[in-house]
């Protein structure tokens, strides 16, 4: 529980993550705890291999801790079964990837509408929402373009539209500017700030880029599986 009595959006409690590679055990996270209040914009920094992505995956509910608890938006993620977890993700987490991960055979609009296929919205409603999300990222006029017809920065904006289209509470971003030139990176960061400030999204962002980290409200440093200040 955070100081003001309000439950944090993300609470990681004593989490361990061990990977087993053959006989060898790799301890990636070793009793890590972290709280992210609702509406925060957090940057996770740290050297390569320190476990940033691993931690982010746990928060996003696409991986499970070896020990400890991960509570996101009030749900103990590790308690959910496979398909419940999938449904939970579709409602609560928006994903932003380093390489955008758009589906190449789908148009921008179709990519953005993808998460809405998991809702029971009508086709028309899905279209409207996707267009709204594309408007938010400033790409409404590119809705019929395929990913290969877009620049990296535009692709990432489409990906962000996809991340917010189902109106999740939490956005997770793994090096969202890692593959972009500085100008596009700047645009993406500005967009994320907007989402945090105006749309109230709680954002957890992994980054190597100190300038990106500065845009966040809080910075955490990960070193060999534990947080350092």
């Amino acid at each position: 529980m955070s100081g003001n009595g309000k439950a944090p959006m993300v609470a990681v409690e004593g989490v361990k993550k061990v990977y087993r590679r053959d006989a060898e055990e790799v301890k990636v996270l070793d009793g890590l705890s972290l709280e992210v209040p609702e509406g925060d914009f957090v940057a996770l920094m740290g050297p390569s291999g320190s476990g940033k992505t691993t931690l982010l995956n746990l928060i996003a509910g696409i991986d499970r801790p070896t020990a400890g608890k991960v509570i996101v938006a009030g749900t103990d993620v590790a308690q959910l079964g496979e398909s419940e977890l999938a449904r939970w993700r579709s409602r609560n987490v928006g994903f932003i990837f380093q390489f955008y991960n758009l589906i190449p055979v789908l148009t921008a609009e179709e990519n953005v509408a993808l998460p809405l296929l998991l809702t029971n919205l009508s086709k028309k409603e899905r279209r409207e929402r996707a267009l709204t999300a594309l408007k938010v990222v400033g790409l409404a006029e590119r809705s019929q373009h395929y990913p290969r017809q877009l620049s990296g920065g535009q692709e990432q904006r489409v990906a962000i539209a996809r991340a917010i289209v189902a109106d999740p509470k939490v956005l997770v971003a793994d090096e969202p500017t890692g593959d972009l030139d500085s100008k596009s990176a700047e645009e993406i960061l500005a967009l994320m700030e907007t989402l945090n400030r105006d749309f109230g999204k709680t954002i957890v962002m992994v980054t190597h880029d100190p300038r990106a980290a500065q845009r966040a409200h809080t910075q955490h440093h990960l070193e060999k599986g534990v947080l350092s200040l």
Partner: protein
């Protein structure tokens, strides 16, 4: 909950090079199966008489082909008074006594001498046998040296209306061409029984008699009565069954061959499809991880890749059917139980094509199953790490 099919269709379309091998493999299997089935169905149709269910076929006891049968005219007289035989207004029995000889003619295509059945029939034969009709020219006139030829005979030997054919060293004029629903009669030459009996040296009797039963349910009684009669010495069978007994084993063997080849080639094509689908899954690993992260279930991924395999296979099936289509109408030939050639046309029928498509899609789904399962089982984090 499911991914839209357009997603799969576009993937197949965009990455068609990747799927080419599997599509062609499946196409070849379907082509082969459709081809063999078309042959089998044309073949069994040709060896079948037009075959009415209420007709009984009477041949000499122990004979299983018409050519080796002989029924004396006296025995025939005795038989035809049976009250179970249907009669016309004048009280005449609906029966078709027939004589049969084999003549030999050079085939148009290669000049090789080939046996052709020559059948002498009464004016009533078309009515009793059923399914026969004149497609060119006219019927023969009893008393004149005239014949009509089946469509296949016209095709293969060039016996057009107006031409003369030699039977037992006598010229007979072709006055008409008849069709018989694709049956073996189309490979025969027909003339008037009484006109032909003497020159063909068949005055003593008939090779077979076909009779229409007034009530088909009396067949067994009819059969039992006459087969047990020592005076006439005949075997009685249903007309259709008589011819099917001749065609059955070979047609069955052909269908068996189609099945066997289908399975052997099908296994190959399934592995081809499997290989392709593994490739497709591997090339889309990160995409799969992304979809799973967004909340699509394992089952949705499984269904999606199975769908894609089925679509891919359906393309193969359609291509295969297209390749097999020209086989329709190709003519083949076989020997009948009467030691004469029976020509038949390959029949590519809609049910055959449909079966080919179903088989194609099945191959796709079977081949796609393991790769789709792999896709569905990929851990999300591993899949996302893929470049």
């Amino acid at each position: 909950m499911a991914l839209p099919i357009t997603y799969n269709v576009r993937n197949v379309r965009v990455r068609w090079q990747l799927t080419l091998l599997a599509v062609v493999g499946i196409a070849l299997v379907v082509t082969t199966i459709v081809f063999l089935t078309a042959m089998a169905s044309g073949f069994s149709l040709a060896l079948r008489a037009t075959g009415r269910d209420d007709n009984a076929m009477i041949v000499q006891k122990g004979a299983n082909a018409e050519l080796t049968s002989g029924i004396g005219r006296n025995a025939a007289q005795v038989l035809l008074v049976d009250p179970r035989i249907a009669r016309d207004d004048q009280g005449w029995p609906l029966s078709s006594p027939e004589i049969l000889v084999v003549a030999s003619y050079p085939r148009k295509a290669d000049g090789a001498d080939v046996n052709v059945s020559v059948r002498g029939v009464t004016p009533r034969a078309f009515e009793v046998r059923g399914g026969l009709r004149i497609v060119a020219g006219r019927q023969v006139q009893p008393g004149l040296p005239e014949v009509i030829v089946g469509e296949r005979v016209r095709e293969r030997y060039g016996f057009e209306v107006g031409s003369k054919v030699s039977i037992q060293n006598k010229p007979w004029e072709v006055v008409g061409v008849f069709a018989a629903e694709g049956s073996g009669f189309e490979s025969e030459i027909w003339g008037d029984l009484e006109t032909m009996a003497e020159p063909l040296r068949r005055t003593g009797g008939y090779q077979a008699i076909v009779v229409r039963l007034a009530d088909p349910s009396t067949f067994e009684a009819f059969k039992t009565a006459w087969e047990g009669d020592p005076q006439v010495q005949v075997s009685v069978s249903r007309e259709r069954a008589f011819y099917e007994a001749q065609a059955g084993p070979i047609a069955g063997a052909l269908l068996g061959l189609a099945g066997f080849v289908g399975i052997v080639m099908g296994v190959g094509a399934v592995f081809g499809a499997m290989n392709t689908m593994y490739g497709i899954v591997a090339s889309r690993t990160r995409e799969i991880g992304t979809l799973r992260a967004l909340g699509f279930s394992r089952r949705a991924i499984l269904a999606s890749f199975l769908t894609e395999a089925a679509i891919l296979a359906a393309f193969g099936g359609a291509l295969g059917c297209l390749l097999a289509l020209p086989a329709n109408g190709i003519s083949g030939a076989t020997n009948s139980a009467n030691f004469s050639e029976i020509a038949f046309a390959f029949r590519v029928t809609p049910p055959t094509l449909f079966a080919g498509m179903v088989f194609a899609v099945m191959m796709g789904i079977v081949g796609g199953l393991l790769p789709a399962l792999r896709a569905a089982r990929l851990p999300i984090t591993t899949a996302l790490r893929e470049v």
